[in-house]
């Protein structure tokens, strides 16, 4: 017991504010289209993208962030320097009831009820486990999600938010629907990671994959990334709860 206390005291406090840690130089985050880019329309980037996340639109590349895995292949392929990879991870967007900007009754109610104390149920319906491990890391002492009044619970009955990972597989469809039903209203759904956000774009068309999460239940928060780093997940939560 003494050893345990000694270890606890010697370690001290390692918790960081979520925005503190800066991604290292090589970190692969959002790919942006350079403002002054001179796209020749060669489509090399479109052809090289493993998830079909990039398209040419009105003479310049457009990236579907929900399906991008930040591999950087498009950036390498472009001969004209049109694309640049940044380390930006703050890519979460809002959908469903949270998306409308008129300050709707429902949105306010959700934020009033859930804003300061949010309980999350994890739901893996087809993930590679990368997303789930990053979710797990939210509970490590460095990110310590509980400091924000946010915690994970054991049952959907106790949850305000479902954090869903993976594309919806055939074999998990029932579990998704039943868990969604079992969660009391008002409830929020987060599609966590490129698979949950985009469906079969990551693994390709398959007899075993049914689609993206929002084809089955309404999604309020999309967090892109493969997987999104813990900070990106916290960003999504803060955005949803209007606590930025």
């Amino acid at each position: 017991m003494l050893k345990v206390w000694k270890k606890v005291l010697a370690t001290g406090n390692v918790t960081e504010p979520w925005e503190k840690s800066v991604p290292p130089e090589r970190s692969r985050g959002e790919v942006v289209v350079e403002q002054h880019a001179a796209c020749k329309g060669c489509k090399l980037c479109v052809d090289v993208c493993p998830t079909k996340a990039i398209k040419l639109y009105e003479g310049s590349p457009v990236i579907n962030q929900k399906a991008c895995v930040f591999c950087g292949l498009c950036v390498e392929s472009c001969q004209d320097g049109c694309l640049k990879q940044t380390s930006n991870y703050k890519l979460a967007t809002l959908g469903g009831s949270l998306a409308d900007n008129t300050g709707s009754e429902l949105k306010n109610k959700i934020r009033r009820v859930l804003g300061r104390s949010l309980h999350i149920r994890h739901l893996d319906i087809g993930s590679c486990n990368g997303c789930d491990f990053e979710m797990n890391h939210l509970c490590n002492p460095v990110y310590d999600i509980q400091q924000y009044g946010i915690d994970f619970v054991a049952s959907p009955r106790h949850a305000d938010l479902l954090m869903v990972t993976g594309p919806v597989t055939r074999n998990s469809t029932q579990a998704l629907m039943m868990t969604y039903e079992a969660t009391p209203t008002p409830k929020l759904v987060m599609a966590l990671g490129a698979c949950a956000c985009s469906g079969d774009q990551i693994f390709g068309e398959s007899y075993a994959i049914r689609g993206a999460v929002d084809a089955f239940v309404p999604v309020d928060i999309y967090v892109p990334g493969c997987p999104p780093r813990p900070q990106a997940i916290i960003h999504g939560l803060m955005l949803a709860l209007d606590r930025m």
């Binding site: 050893k3 345990v4 270890k7 606890v8 370690t11 390692v14 840690s21 991604p23 290292p24 130089e25 090589r26 970190s27 692969r28 493993p50 998830t51 895995v69 591999c71 950087g72 994890h122 739901l123 893996d124 319906i125 087809g126 993930s127 590679c128 486990n129 990368g130 997303c131 789930d132 491990f133 990053e134 979710m135 890391h137 509970c139 490590n140 002492p141 460095v142 994970f152 054991a154 049952s155 993976g166 594309p167 597989t169 055939r170 074999n171 998990s172 469809t173 579990a175 079969d200 990551i202 693994f203 390709g204 068309e205 398959s206 007899y207 075993a208 994959i209 493969c226 997987p227 780093r229």
Partner: protein, 500 residues
Amino acid sequence: MKDYKTIPAAELRETAYQLYADGQNGLMSMFANDERQLNGNYAIYCLFSVGKSMQVIKAVLKDKGKLEFPSITPKISGAAWYEREIYDMFGLKPVGHPDLRPLALHENWPQGIFPLRKDFNSQTPVPTAKKEFPMAGVEGEGVFTVPVGPIHAGIIEPGHFRFSQAGEDIIRLDAKLFFLHRGIEKAIEGVPIERAFYQVERISGICTIAHSLSYCQAIENIAGVTIPLRAQYLRALVGEMERLYNHVGDIGNLCAGMGFAVGIMAGARLKEDIMRVNEALTGHRFLRGMVVPGGVRLDINEQLSSEIRSMLDKLMPDFDEMIELFRGNDAFLNRVETTGIVPRQAALDLGVVGIGARASGVDVDIRRDFPYGCYSALQFDVPVYTEGDVAARLWVRVDEVAQTVKLIRQILEKMPQGSLKAAIPAIKPYSSGFGWCESPQGNNLHWLMVGENNTVYRLYARSAAYPNWPALTVAAPGNIIPDFPLINKSYELSYACVDR
């Protein structure tokens, strides 16, 4: 090893039993391939390790004949899941199999559709069937059943467990897995091999490098390409980084199985430190985007090497202190010792690999037994324990952390100069071969057949968790349900790896 011993399927049992030699030579993997377009046959491949070599039996079934073969499960228990999967995916029936329930395809899948046959088209919608999924249990007076999952209480992967209980004791465990089945092997058929790599890399988050290595080495073996030496060292570096963060995290996670918060948090904190270095090195916390067919994508410089070294310098004393919290702690040891025992013979029969094997007295490590990349130039020991319990699996991990750290230091020291990538040439259509590596959980094997224009004709990906899963059903009986999380975490099997 590109030579397959080809036999008619009717002779499979005889030939396999002979090669198995009552367990002297283990079955490493077994899978099927639809080769009707090539030669009118289905083929079933069985890979055995025979002393210092690997040998492959290829049993062929004529398309027009009866689509069945004699099951080898009666004598080779390790074949049970492989054969069930072959039946699910190809409709080739292992006659004499003791338990031919579906494995990967659930009650929603209609009878008589076999997704890995070439004439199954992914674009055709498959109706949702409403069948029963039979679970195995024990009946009798005083025996009751406890169903758990697929959604669990913690942040873990989904699986459905059925415990048959007599009082507090588990007398049988049956599992329904494959909730995460994404059909990746089918989805990449026809995709160029260098592009399908990005799907393969995503089979599992925590085994990113393992699947990358097996897949790339399969391509390189088939193409006869030797990758540059520097690339071999960089691959070994990320492979060992993957082992390191997994082992440290898994040791901490084991404490979650008994609510020992200080251990959980210490493991989680140390793992975060390693993952940050992963990202500094490769741009990705799970090391994605580093390994590619033909070599690696990124180089290392002096600054990154010293960043890794100083992480290790800081990690090791901290890690040792964490382990000290376990070693002298009777309450802790009481929970882990003699819990979830898998005897050596059971481990051998099931073909258990990796940590599960080494904790049950089976001395295997594919880095040493069938070296790949630069491993034959590196020095490391393979820790083996004989107790087969949760504690033994913990101590194997603890010892391996030290070995892995030693390996990383060696790799950095010996890092040769040179280029990073060799080109993959045009591959003769329908050539096939294996690639393998030792993942954090045990050996990981891929078999690839390349089609026209360097595309994937068939990939079979067998991760370490696949042969290890059935060991849980041996480990659990005789223990109480509250010990199951502990037993489960001592294996830390990746469901995404098994389910694909």
